[in-house]
Subunit: 451 residues, 2 copies
């Protein structure tokens, strides 16, 4: 089956979405769903065949309006756990004192910048605070294009890098109709599932072809823009280091490596604090987002001084909310708590245990084809009896888990990958609960249907 | 003098910026400034010839590290006043309960959407929550281009609409080098200073020419994108209604009116809650930003259901932080408090008194050429002895006021406009203080230099 025929017409972003033309089977929920449709409208997306009205969160737990408890194995924004007191206190204390933009001096911003830049391998790195990861990637593309003098961008086949006009163009997973523009070339990661493949050589060849294509089309290669855990592609973590030759090739050709750390960053992949570090890469630009403020809107970008100076000579750049007093307080609390609670180490140990448990289920149940992941970022391929991507069964599993009180999501070019990406305070007992419920789903809830 | 010769090479955004090559004259500040330069770098901008380290805010007041008090007549983000307890309480209470994205159901989001949409004249309007005004304008451009099938955009000559790649293209005030792209046509507002001009006819003619030019260039006119108080152009408020024929012309030609309410919205202009309503306009899309959360990052866009459905058929759209539980709590508190504290009425009455006081100073001091404004959004043109735009004297006035404890900013195509835009809890006594200090500056601090 080709990518074209296997993909349905929804964007990958809409996988696991509630169908607004159906009933949730619950009057109260149906009333909320009508409000949503009539007030927020077509861009609104709700999770699950029966959407959930959440009312409370605590650590790895979410609670709905009926008091039902859900194990959150999906939300990566509350990286420290839902409603973490350290962040709440930091935000509350700063809110009563001051909340202004960065056109006034603020030592706290400098302290945070110094600490964050200290974790990065950039020469003369500078931190630009933005409000969202989309803004960070949008700015990163501008910097890369200005510096390289080229326009083309290489991304993964089901990449997602945000919601602005510019980053939507390099986000094939957002497309429901049509293709990415000609200045974007996508690399298919699925062949990496073949363990006999020389992954580094494959990626290098793909990138070489992409550069050649972009040159032929007259765009040149401005950047390789990657989320090194390949979240929306369905989590491609291994082999660590496989990206290195491809990245060197891009950089040798005058393109930049933009490491989008919105997904893998801040310790999630366990062995390293940053996703690019797992692959031994030297990025030119690093972007940050979702987990940076544990839910308070904070994001940013680190780049060498020279790149920012080039932009600054052309246009002004100011971000009203980026780096404001409260945003910095939230981000600092997150960084401090990640270290104090040793959450990166927990991501590694709990993640390894969960990976191992999922691999056990894989051996037991034919619907689970393979497990990929690093730390607390895991993808599980769901396949049909004839070993084809099976988005329908994937969706059934996710919805059955939801009804059993476990929240995960879907990913992958074909929508057939279970995406497991919990807060980093997820402990082995939470992993056991997830595994047990998944086993129950596979035994009891699929009604013998595999495709 | 032509616009070319009168403008210096800095972007309009950089007006009133500290020059990083100078000393602030204070060792502690110089040390903070070095940190800023070395950690945040070239895109960083600090206000005033001696930047301020702010440590506290309360209502219309800000306090620096030495305990010096500043009357804030600049910051429009804290629309209710700095550190307003209602917003702090709402955010703090929601933070301990839950903070998740909009893929779960949340009645509070629907309640807010219903209330906000109820203030707008859109048919089948829907509210899309974003995180920043830049994201809202970026999305608005996508909607307008998709719906109209055209690419061209008409903006004011010194417009600013945000910081993404797409909105920077339609923000001439951000350009330091080069011009706006060919698909953007700018309208000069300066002729509106001539009171004998038929403003409505002038604007209509300008827009007609712009549409013709965009058609000739093959782009067509997708949108007229305006902030109806024309903040960065130097505040052009009058005559109210003058925009109506121009807008009708755009809409008749198949283009959309995008009303960027980031600056004039939420009651600031006094007589109406929205800037477009002062001009009696019927926008197709309305965008919101800065004041919407009193400092908590919240923004959004309202558009007819049909436009969002068109986008939604093409690409997915999701905004992680937009409409999250805490963002909605903050936005709701702002909307409620604006009503309860009657801040729109205060903007009108205090604004009128301040306008009148400034017009009195205008009669007295030749450097003050004219005063424009509506409610608590006021621009004052500063000119030389030969009646030319005088950015140098403008900058001197702003810096002298800063040293006297009053904060305002600069605006305008030539950087010669005092921009006065305080929190809406600004009262007549605060206006008197501003007027008195401005009088003192004009008498004592300019050293006889007028250009």
């Amino acid at each position: 089956m080709s990518a074209e025929t296997k993909r349905d017409t929804r964007s990958i972003l809409d996988q696991n979405a509630f169908n607004f033309e159906r009933s949730s089977g619950d009057d109260h929920l149906d009333s909320l769903i009508r409000q949503r449709r009539d007030l927020v409208g077509p861009t609104s997306m709700l999770f699950y065949d029966q959407p959930i009205e959440m009312v409370e969160g605590q650590g790895v737990w979410l609670f709905d309006g009926d008091g039902k408890r859900y194990l959150d194995a999906y939300n990566n924004v509350p990286v420290l756990g839902h409603c973490h007191p350290r962040v709440i206190d930091a935000v509350a204390q700063q809110m009563v004192r001051l909340n202004v933009h960065t056109r006034y001096l603020d030592e706290a911003l400098h302290r945070y910048a110094e600490q964050l830049l200290g974790t990065l391998p950039l020469d003369s790195g500078r931190l630009v605070m933005t409000c969202t990861g989309s803004e960070a990637n949008d700015l990163a593309l501008r910097l890369a294009r200005l510096h390289s003098g080229k326009q083309g961008v290489i991304v993964s086949a089901a990449a997602y890098h945000g919601n602005t006009a510019a980053v939507t163009e390099v986000s094939p997973s957002s497309m429901k109709q049509g293709q990415v523009p000609d200045f974007v070339v996508c690399i298919d990661l699925e062949p990496l599932n073949d363990e006999s493949l020389d992954a580094a050589a494959y990626l290098d060849t793909q990138v070489a072809n992409a550069i050649e294509l972009l040159d032929e089309r007259g765009f040149g290669c401005a950047a390789l823009l990657i989320d090194t855990i390949f979240s929306s592609d369905g989590v491609y973590a291994d082999p660590a280091g496989a990206l290195a030759p491809a990245v060197r090739r891009v950089q040798h050709a005058g393109g930049l490596l933009i490491a989008d750390e919105v997904q893998p960053g801040f310790g999630r992949t366990g062995s390293e604090f940053w996703g690019f570090a797992r692959h031994g890469l030297m990025p030119d630009i690093v972007t940050f987002g979702k987990p940076m403020g544990n839910g308070y809107p904070v994001a940013g970008l680190a780049a060498p001084e020279a790149l920012l100076a080039e932009l600054s000579a052309q246009t002004g750049y100011f971000n009203t909310f980026g780096g404001s007093s409260v945003a910095v307080a939230a981000a600092q609390a997150v960084l401090d708590t990640l270290v104090e609670e040793e959450l990166q180490a927990n991501a590694l140990s709990t993640g390894n245990e969960l990976l191992s448990g999922l691999r056990g289920l894989c051996d037991e149940f034919p619907q689970l084809a393979r497990v990929r992941g690093a730390g607390l970022f895991i993808g599980v391929d769901i396949v049909s009896a004839d070993n084809q991507p099976d988005p329908l069964t994937c969706s059934r599993i996710i919805n059955a888990l939801r009804h059993r009180g476990v929240l995960i999501g879907a990913a992958g070019l074909y929508g057939n990958v279970l995406k497991i990406r919990p807060p980093l305070c997820f402990k082995p007992e939470h992993g056991h609960l997830l595994l047990e419920q998944l086993r129950q789903v596979l035994i009891n809830d699929l009604g013998g249907v595999t495709s």
